[in-house]
Every structure is written in C-alpha cells, then in structure tokens.
Symmetry: C2
Subunit: 197 residues, 2 copies
Amino acid sequence: MAPRKKDDILNAALRLLAEKGYEGLTIEGVAERSGVNKTTIYRWWPSKAALLGTALVEARALDFDVPDTGSLRGDLHALLDGLARLLTTPPAADIAVAALGAAANSPELAEAARGFFADRFARERPIFERARERGEIGDSADPMTIMDLLAGAVWLRVVFRQVPLDDGFTERAVNAVVDGVGRPGDPKAGRPARTGG
Amino acid sequence: MAPRKKDDILNAALRLLAEKGYEGLTIEGVAERSGVNKTTIYRWWPSKAALLGTALVEARALDFDVPDTGSLRGDLHALLDGLARLLTTPPAADIAVAALGAAANSPELAEAARGFFADRFARERPIFERARERGEIGDSADPMTIMDLLAGAVWLRVVFRQVPLDDGFTERAVNAVVDGVGRPGDPKAGRPARTGG
C-alpha cells in the first residue's frame, strides 16, 4: 500500500474514534472518510481493533520526538513537555484520550493500547542508556518505573483529575523524580546509602 | 435516607457501571438491582451522572485508609499498595477502571471523576502535613505533584500499559520519588542546592 494512502486510512480511523467513540467507529466509516475502498482496508486489517493497533503506533498525529539534550533532566523535561502538549492540544488530545479511555473498557482495544505504550517505551529507552553512560543514573534505576511516574503524572492530571497543567508542572515532576522530594539529611526520608549504583 | 439503603443504591450503581458501561447504566437498572423504588432514587439524584458522583466518593467498594506509619516513605508505600490492590482486585478494580475510563470520554462523568480525585487528595493531604512537621520534606515539595507521580504510575501500568505489578513496583516507585533517581554527585543530574527547604 502506498504510504500516503495508509496515512489517510490511519488518520481517518483515529479522527472517527475521537468523534464517535469506539462503538461508533466502523471500517465503512473509515472507508468513506479516507476515500479508500472498504475491501482494500479489510485486506490489510481484519478488524477495527487491528486497524487501531496500527494507527496508534504509526499515525503521525500521535508521533513524538525522542529528545537528546545532553542531560537526563533535559531529556525528561523535553519528553514530558511533548506529552503534555500531545494530551492538551487537539486533535491529538481527543484521539489519545478517546483511544486510551476506551482501551480501559475494551479487551479488544487493550491490545492496541499495549502496543502503543510498548512502542513508545522502546523509543524512550535510549534516553536512559545515555544517562547511564554519562553516569547520571545508577544501574539500579529502573527506566520503566521512571516513565510510569512521569507519564502517569501527566495522564492523571490531564485526563482524570482534570486540573490544568500550569507552566511549572512538567519541571516540578521531573525535578521530583531526578532529585527526590525527601530531605537528604533526614534519617527516615533521606537518601539511603547506595551500593553499586 | 437510611444509610443502609443509600449504600445499596450506590453499590448497585457501581456494579452496573462495571458490568454494562456508562451507556448501559440506567436509574431503572439501579432501582431493580438495589430494590429501591425508582422515584426515590430520582428524588435524591436527578441523573445517573449525579448518582455516580456520589457513588465514586462515598461507596465502600472504593474506600481507602489513609496510613499513618510514622514516616513519609512508609505512608506513601502503604498508600500506593492500597491503590495497587484496589486497581487489581475485583470488584473495585472493574468499577474504578470502568468509571474513570468512561470519564475520559464523557463530560458528564468527568465531573464525577474530578470529585473522586479531589476527595481522595483532601484525605491524603495530612500525610504531607505530618511529613513537613517531621522535617522529611521541605516547604517547596508539592503534595499534588507527588500524588500525581505515584498514583499516575500505578494507573498507567495497570490500566494503560497493562503490565502486571510485580512485588517490588510500589516500593521502587516510592523510593524513586523520595530519594530521586539521579546520582547526587553528578553535576547535571544531581540534587541542586536548595534554598529555604
């Protein structure tokens, strides 16, 4: 399939998902919106869940750049700012919220959501490899936990808590995870002695 | 209304939400399931969104204890373990995921979700007040950002990423936020000098 045609199909699927929800999304609707024949779409994707699985990973609307600023703090800040923008700027915001909100309630779509997050995490990994090479994090720091904390914070605040992201939010979140919120001098909350990293 | 009767109504609403989704939930269904007359329910709650707003905040199925272990680290760990249990143990898990997944796509239900998170945060606040009194965190640490990070991490992993929570997850997440993942000796990633807390 020509890349241009594929893009049209994936974008149509995501737009319709945002407009009509998962229940309202049909391959017929995607065919009509994208101008591509229904049987062509079915030949590539046997179901709307399969189509969304590809769309969530490959569509340009949800694409993101992996920053390389020279420091862990800078990379995480840029990454989180990008996610905050994605989750608050139409049409990507409506698409992401509709798709992933629906995924929570649909085992079919959950597979697509898993693919989306696995793909993003694979692309984020080099940030942590570079940080390790620079000696910014120890071997015991777990990249997926760090991404769960940071991306989870943006999701929770924007989508669930529905409190606006003030200017300092992504910076506060990154600093909390990089520096820790406990006071180093405190025996209970402070940074414990580390061995090997 | 008698507390017992109210509890029956709220629980019926949440169970039906988990079973049928927001679209499938009706006041008629709640009346049938709870054995309370439909007109009685309508007298207290004019819509299913209003009923769910009360149910998310007051139902015992989603209740949680605010820990007081004597340290910030202990309190956050206990709190996060409780949330992890809630989001992975039926029926609360199905209810929470159905309600908050649906909230992402429904402006009506979003109000209920906002109420749910605002209520929880109000109850979590004393954890941070006690930590401040003990000198475990400085005045500049922002409690809502800390809760966004920690609760967001559990939500992201359980609901979106759909990776099982291994035994060490909540501990890793709490330690990352309390201690920080950056190495203190590093000029770029380390803890910056603090002024006034």
